[in-house]
Subunit: 227 residues, 2 copies
């Protein structure tokens, strides 16, 4: 029996993305190393946490090297290792469905190209959009989804359509054999077993924020009451 493959803890996975982002400027400006304390302070995370997370990365790669005592972590190596674990050193061609404001914002941004993500084809359900070129790509009808996804072995679909169309398109994506969906529609979508979904939801984010603010208010009040 092989040693059970330890799955990456959810919170660690999330933080790895943040570490990655944080060291990009350091690499750009040639800073050779960073300590767990420094990196942690930037992100409001304990140094022990950072070390545990990075230790996990090393273990999962089964290479025995990582940070150096008394010095810190090599930014370049860290970058490499994290990308390896995250899968950001693979190519991840995606399809974008829905060329409205959000879709255009994504096409215009392109900042995730360095993580291997690219938009390979764009689609819109509105027939009047068909053929129009946006960001160098011609808009295709959703009927072409299946073929494009199959022939290009695309594993990620970006769903940027209005709520009303979201489930229909999600089902089309699943049927076409997509592996994961990044969902911008403000609703839960049902997907085929085995398809991953990540939601980007502004309402949820706003609610999270307002909760934080409310909690701060309460703490402030009770602190004043105690003083």
């Amino acid at each position: 029996m092989p040693p059970t493959v330890r799955r990456i803890p959810r919170p660690t996975a999330q933080r790895l993305s943040l570490y990655l982002r944080e060291i990009q400027p350091l690499i750009a400006q040639g800073q050779p190393t960073i300590s767990s304390r420094e990196l942690g302070e930037k992100l409001g995370v304990s140094s022990a946490q950072v070390r545990k997370d990075l230790a996990w990365v090393v273990q999962s790669r089964q290479t025995g090297e990582s940070g150096r005592s008394g010095v810190g972590y090599n930014c370049f190596k860290m970058n490499d290792s994290i990308r390896h674990v995250i899968g950001a050193n693979r190519r991840w061609p995606t399809v974008l469905v829905g060329v409205g404001n959000i879709g255009r914002a994504l096409l215009a941004y392109g900042g995730f190209a360095q993580d291997g993500f690219s938009i390979a084809a764009i689609f819109d359900a509105n027939p009047r959009m068909e053929g129009k070129r946006v960001g160098g790509l011609a808009i295709q009808p959703t009927s072409a989804l299946r073929k494009v996804i199959r022939t290009n072995r695309i594993s990620i679909g970006i769903l940027a359509v209005p709520r009303s169309a979201a489930q229909v398109v999600a089902t089309q994506l699943c049927d076409a054999g997509i592996r994961g969906i990044l969902n911008f529609a403000p609703m839960r979508i049902a997907v085929t077993e085995g398809v991953s979904v990540t939601n980007v939801d502004v309402s949820v984010a706003l609610e999270q924020l307002s909760m934080d603010i409310s909690i701060r208010d309460q703490l402030r009040l009770s602190a004043e009451g105690a003083a």
Copy 2:
């Protein structure tokens, strides 16, 4: 010494937003109640989890009523209670800074109005945008931020500017006395002590998704290997 105010567990806070979203259609179509099991299944959460979360809501409101044994939870009451805890029954006027694609998408969406969030004023650093009307609001220069935020007692700022402008605007918002920032710029922003930040980051979301897919792949492979 008063009973220590128990803070809401982070994961619970996140799920409450999801419950809220999930019961909106039920309320709209007049379904009177829902069981913890049903609600949990919709979201991939255990029924015990749902009950614990909702029990927390009740406790924090200090009203003794919630679900009914053998029946389930009253959708209408649940809606009310969760909104109360989240703060979604307050008014949350916001300012939007940055009227690019993301800003326009937010202005066009407006689906968070029912949670009390509204965009009260819009700003852009580009002077050529000044005065242009989008979504019924005239674009103001960022120099007006301070005054608008103060006079309208606005607590949330939505930061939808390019990365290069993000820190400058974030600082302006903080100086103007903002309480929380919803940050769409793909970077960590530094803020004044006491200001909450929630990030909406597409790269992080994509990386999360690709990790999920990779993990699924590994599991599949090892399962096939074992079979």
